[in-house]
């Protein structure tokens, strides 16, 4: 048949093109598809893991990294980006991959702590000396305060920002959903630019000089502070915020096909080791192992699984789907 005649050479070409090597070989390549703020963390971590793996098995492991907005990265994996592991900003995005059958259901139970080896939260980055005296969430809705956050529709981090503000308002005396929505609406009235990703927002705040306060991942805020000048910015930790759990998982279908399951699982487990936790702490993530020292301030943290949100699936539907509270806020604002 004609078909076979074409298929054979095509397959040969494909194998030649294919970059993933078989697991038996001494050289293993993993692809870790992650979200924006983890670049520096994984650059460090991959080096450490490669050394660990070499000493343990004698194999050389090269971990390739791909970074982008969490939703975009999840979509790429769904569309066939050959990720052995994903380390994304929120469980909702990994759920979307699982929905397509690439990951076993119940993936979040595979590893401890909802498969989140480190956590983070949302804090404020303000200009040096905090000229607008921003201490807590209710300072953000004051007139004349300009707030920078990315778009919750396109950025995982921004969804945490949104929910953190919501949770704060909800837990104020006499707080309810209506009041929370009003609070968040007021906050977004103070937002002049909605970048599509967390890094875009940081650039807007830092490079363009826009805004009085940037809502950011805690690790992003400290990274920006260190990279771009401790003399220019301050980090303000509010009294309460949300517990952001960026989960990790093996993409079963891909890892099994590449024969990389074992190393992929070890890679993720290594995140939970003392060494992995130290690296996370160094990059201003909150290690889940409480014995690892961290300089990060303690604060009251609400979680996405609280009754107020009811998990990612529900939160996404209520707040960020078309017609959700975020759209309502912008629909009513003329």
């Amino acid at each position: 048949m004609k078909f076979k005649q074409i298929a054979l050479p095509l397959a040969a070409i494909a194998m030649a093109l294919s970059t993933a090597t078989a697991a038996l070989a001494a050289n293993v390549t993993l692809l870790n598809v992650s979200y924006d703020p983890t670049r520096e963390l994984y650059t460090d971590f991959n080096k450490s893991f490669a050394a660990y793996w070499k000493s343990k098995t004698g194999d050389t492991v090269t971990v390739k990294q791909s970074h982008g907005g969490s939703g975009k990265q999840a979509r790429s994996v769904i569309d066939g980006l050959q990720a052995d592991v994903v380390t994304l900003a929120l469980a909702y995005d990994i759920d979307a991959i699982a929905e397509k059958g690439l990951i076993k259901t119940g993936w979040q139970k595979e590893l401890p702590h909802n498969s989140s080896p480190y956590t983070s939260t949302i804090v404020f980055l303000v200009r040096k000396g905090n000229p607008k005296k921003i201490k807590n969430w209710d300072d953000l809705i004051k007139p004349g305060v300009s707030v920078i956050t990315p778009n919750p529709k396109t950025s995982g981090g921004a969804r945490w920002n949104y929910l953190a503000a919501w949770a704060f308002a909800l837990h104020q005396p006499g707080g309810n959903d209506a009041k929370a929505k009003e609070f968040v609406a007021k906050l977004f009235k103070n937002v002049p630019v909605l970048d599509s990703g967390a890094r875009g927002s940081t650039n807007t705040f830092v490079q363009r000089g826009l805004g009085d306060v940037l809502l950011a991942w805690e690790n992003e805020a400290f990274l920006a502070l260190n990279e771009l000048g401790p003399d220019k910015f301050d980090v303000v930790t509010p009294s309460e915020s949300i517990l952001a759990e960026p989960p990790v998982t093996v993409i079963d279908k891909v890892a099994d096909k590449h024969g990389t399951r074992r190393v992929a699982e070890e890679y993720l487990k290594y995140l939970y080791s003392d060494e992995g936790q130290k690296i996370a702490a160094k990059h201003y993530y909150r290690p889940i192992n409480t014995k690892i020292p961290t300089k990060l301030a303690k604060l009251k943290l609400y979680t996405i699984d609280d009754k107020a949100f009811g998990g990612w699936q529900k939160a996404q539907k209520t707040h960020f789907a078309d017609g959700g509270t975020f759209d309502q806020i912008y629909g009513s604002k003329k």
Binding site: G71, P192, L194, D195, Y330
Partner: protein
């Protein structure tokens, strides 16, 4: 290809060249684009209409087409001026300027976007002078117009320029001999000759601007209902795993581009007739 028998044409190669053209066109353009339509077909008509006419989507059309129109207008005025100056006048550095006109073609859009944002943001080279006067360019709809003007400029210049070059000086001399003033000559003789190419350039620059994404997201501000362009909405839908919603809006954009190009080509046909 027997169907279109070529009368009175001795040139060879019609069959193979047209055949290859259609084959390559189908492979690269038509079949992939049809995927868009088929994906959208998963939506019912009602869902389709409600997706593409949602308030936020409608607002984005307004922003996108409005800004593209403004940019195309700016480009038409200044593009014609630049083309005229480059062809008719001699001044030092003319050739360098002439070459520079193609820069927006060659400069990657992302670089253009970042650079324009750098220049026009409140702390940028130009932005800092505009800011005290209350003029905000970056992160407003004005920023979108700016980016679109940048990417569309070469189209008007490069369409009008050859026409200006070809203007027969005898026509102008004749007009002068008949007693026309320079202004009258320009308005009555030269402008009508340039008009078709100006319209073409306008339409090209408009069409290019409507689809632009890379340079705009860096400078637009991306506020829903205010400065959110339609391509960004497609991306937004995709990020929420809403493929059908994304392809529905993409279909509308595709249809618009296609009809605009059809108009451009009719314009060119008309201009050729006009020239004869």
């Amino acid at each position: 290809m027997k169907l279109f028998k070529q009368h009175n044409n001795v040139l060879p190669g019609f069959g193979p060249t047209l055949g290859f053209t259609i084959f390559y066109l189908s492979l690269i353009v038509l079949i992939p684009l049809s995927a868009l339509v088929f994906r959208t077909a998963g939506l019912s008509w009602g869902e389709f209409v409600s997706t593409v006419t949602a308030p936020r989507v409608l607002a984005s059309y307004k922003v996108t087409f409005g800004a593209a129109l403004a940019a195309a207008l700016i480009n038409s005025i200044f593009g014609v001026l630049v083309a005229w100056v480059l062809v008719r006048y001699r001044f030092p550095g003319r050739r360098i300027v002439d070459a520079l006109v193609d820069l927006p073609f060659a400069l990657p859009t992302a670089v253009a976007g970042i650079t324009l944002a750098t220049i026009y943001s409140p702390n940028g080279w130009v932005g800092r002078f505009l800011e005290p006067h209350g003029i905000k360019v970056a992160f407003t709809p004005l920023g979108i117009v700016l980016a679109m003007t940048f990417i569309g400029l070469p189209f008007v210049v490069r369409t009008v320029q050859p026409v200006v070059e070809e203007i027969d000086s005898e026509l102008e001399e004749a007009a002068v001999c008949l007693g026309a003033s320079r202004w009258q000559t320009l308005r009555r003789v030269i402008f009508p000759m340039l008009l078709p190419s100006i319209l073409t350039g306008f339409a090209l620059s408009f069409a290019r601007a409507v689809g632009e994404y890379g340079s705009i997201i860096f400078i637009a501000g991306n506020m829903p209902m205010v400065s959110e362009i339609t391509p960004l909405l497609i991306i937004t839908k995709l990020e929420q795993f809403d493929y059908q919603g994304a392809t529905a809006i993409a279909c509308i954009m595709l249809l618009t581009s296609f009809s605009m190009l059809l108009v451009i080509n009719l314009l060119q046909k008309w201009s050729r007739k006009y020239a004869e």
